[in-house]
């Protein structure tokens, strides 16, 4: 993300999300937004700022404080032929709409023999790092990735922040987009001449031959920093951005591990029963005989995310922990 993309102005991840929303609202009259404080206030993370003035109250709709109600309304709108984009403030609050998401949105297409697809997009903030305490900081995307009928994506780059929304709207299944709060102020430029963005495949963000780091969302940049530090010691790290947590891109994941023979999974979710456990098991199922070291994980400590800064930092995956774990897997004894 440097000066070589001359024509693209610098912008934040937040701006890229907004550009994605703007693209969708402009290109398809069936698209509309709803959620708490997304209109007049501009969204609790200011992603939808100024959209009300541009597109009007019909398409940028503030809702009452009832996740269950407005997610349910979104499902109804999608069934009725519209393309609703629902914003939930954080993944923690989405639990109030869990019944609508898991029991209705995910199931209706299947229960109707394919007659009632639910092309609903739900955006929500996830992750920690901004001292918002345990009720606003968890990473529960792994839970949602458990549920068939849903599609779970986690954009980590500006291009994905802007482009994944379009692909999500074209998908006949409900898509949940998890936007990490630690990335919102990250600045960069969009790739000039936007390439179509998919929500099916993982991406190799850095190629290496010694160990594969599997990660997504806010942890991607910690992994890239760790890879840079390890490169100074001659350890070539491959960093895989999962991008989509359901379905997982087994082909790319397994191919990478087959080449490097080692895997370290970095996930801001908790270890127990998390997406990291699923990833590890898939590697064992599909590439056991290629492994040259145990699979390892760096996850968040098994506590509700603490409020004090030093405790929050200690609980989350950090660059030093990633570096140490990777080093342990590739270390050699004389």
């Amino acid at each position: 993300m440097t000066a070589d993309a001359v024509e693209s102005p610098r912008m934040s991840y937040r701006d890229a999300l907004r550009e994605g929303l703007r693209d969708a609202l402009r290109s398809d009259p069936r698209v509309f937004l709803m959620g708490e404080d997304i209109g007049r206030y501009g969204g609790c993370y200011a992603v939808t700022k100024s959209l009300l003035a541009e597109f009007g109250e019909e398409r940028i709709r503030d809702t009452p404080l009832s996740e269950s109600a407005f997610v349910g309304a979104g499902i109804g709108a999608a069934l009725g032929g519209l393309r609703p984009i629902v914003e939930i403030m954080t993944v923690n609050f989405s639990l109030l709409a869990l019944d609508q998401i898991v029991n209705n949105a995910a199931t209706l297409c299947h229960m109707s023999g394919g007659q009632c697809p639910v092309p609903l997009v739900i955006r929500m903030a996830t992750g920690a790092g901004r001292q918002l305490a345990a009720q606003h900081s968890h990473s529960l995307e792994g839970w949602y990735a458990h549920v068939p009928g849903l599609r779970i994506v986690a954009p980590a780059t500006l291009d994905d922040a802007r482009g994944m929304l379009g692909a999500a709207l074209r998908c006949p299944d409900p898509v949940l987009i998890f936007e990490h709060i630690g990335l919102l102020n990250m600045e960069g430029t969009l790739t000039a001449g936007a390439v179509p963005v998919d929500i099916d495949r993982a991406a190799i963000r850095r190629a290496g031959r010694d160990i594969t780091l599997l990660t997504y969302g806010g942890s991607l940049y910690k992994c890239l920093e760790a890879a840079t530090q390890l490169a100074a010691d001659g350890i070539e790290v491959e960093v895989v951005d999962l991008r989509t947590l359901r379905p997982l891109d087994d082909a790319l994941i397994v191919d990478s591990v087959r080449r490097t023979h080692r895997a370290l999974i970095v996930d801001e979710g908790w270890r127990s029963g998390g997406i990291s456990a699923e990833l590890g098991m898939r590697i064992v199922e599909q590439a056991f005989f290629e492994l040259d070291a145990p699979i390892a994980r760096v996850c968040t400590a098994e506590v509700p995310i603490p409020y004090p800064k030093h405790l929050e930092d200690a609980a989350l995956p950090s660059v030093p922990r990633i570096v140490a774990s990777a080093r342990a897997l590739v270390s050699r004894e004389p």
Partner: protein, 357 residues
Amino acid sequence: MPSLGADMEAGTLVEWRVQPGAHVHRGDVMALVDTEKGIIDIESFEEGMVERLIVQPGARVPVGAILALFEGEPTKLAPPQSAARAQRVSPAARARAAQLGIDPQTLKGTGPQGVVTLQDIEQAPAGQGPPPSPAAGRAGIRNAIAVSMSRSKREIPHYYLQLTMDLRPALDWLEQFNASRPVPERLLLAALFNKATARAAAEKPGFNGYYGKAGFEAAKSVHLGVAIALRGGGLVAPAIHEADQKTLPVLMRELQDLVMRVRAGHMRSSEISSATITVTSLGDEGVDVVYPIIHPPQVAIVGFGSVVERPWAIDGRIEPRPLVSVTLAADHRVTDGRLGAQFLARIRDFLTRPEDL
């Protein structure tokens, strides 16, 4: 009972070649063991006095079982099975070892907590795949060749150079040498080819060694692999150790001994997997040129075609000369054509002055 291949679980003792009280040196053949792949001569890992033979001929025992005891060294003949179990091997290393015919239990692990890793396997001296036997091991040898050659063509960027050499000086010298000697002391041209190649390899380390995961590592000695065709198909390339240091008569005797033993299925455990560069010769088959495939993890192979009499321009005149086409296939990750050309030129130099070989 040493393991002579990753898939070997047990072996049958065929014959003892030592008796209690015998003093053996490292490398002495102690016993013949029949494996699924043929009969192998088991060499001693130790020097010492044989105290007691534990296993009787005809008995089939698992890998790791004690075959005999040395005086005062009750467990040194072979690692006990418990120790073999203690050596941890990563799944990838285990799979690759099986492909290459290497026993991971014989290696020292350098991974975390001493585990044998893929790198340890790939840097180990190459396995020849399963050891040979005239009949029973044929399918095993075919499979070993398939695995090894497929890997070579998949992984090694070969480059090929070919140099035609005038053998008049070598053949004249050889004829003179042989004329004055009884049959057993005579040399074959193959001995000269091998010696010349070994000495060139000693001078050009980029062609003598192994390419592992950490890149190329030059070998300290020249262990010359000699491709030996088995009657009815199949090929093995056991090593003549430190071939560059041996005189032509010694080299000739070792070559003769090796060919006979290999075809009889008596390859020694130490010869199976230690070659650092290989020579292949198809001269007897009448082909002009051979374009050989490198035997991984080695990085070079030298091929000799038939010696044929052809017109050769020399000092502005055409003369009939005995010529041979010598081919080098080398690993482009390690060396370039210029070095390869120098390597071939060294072989020619040596063959031009056979009296100095």
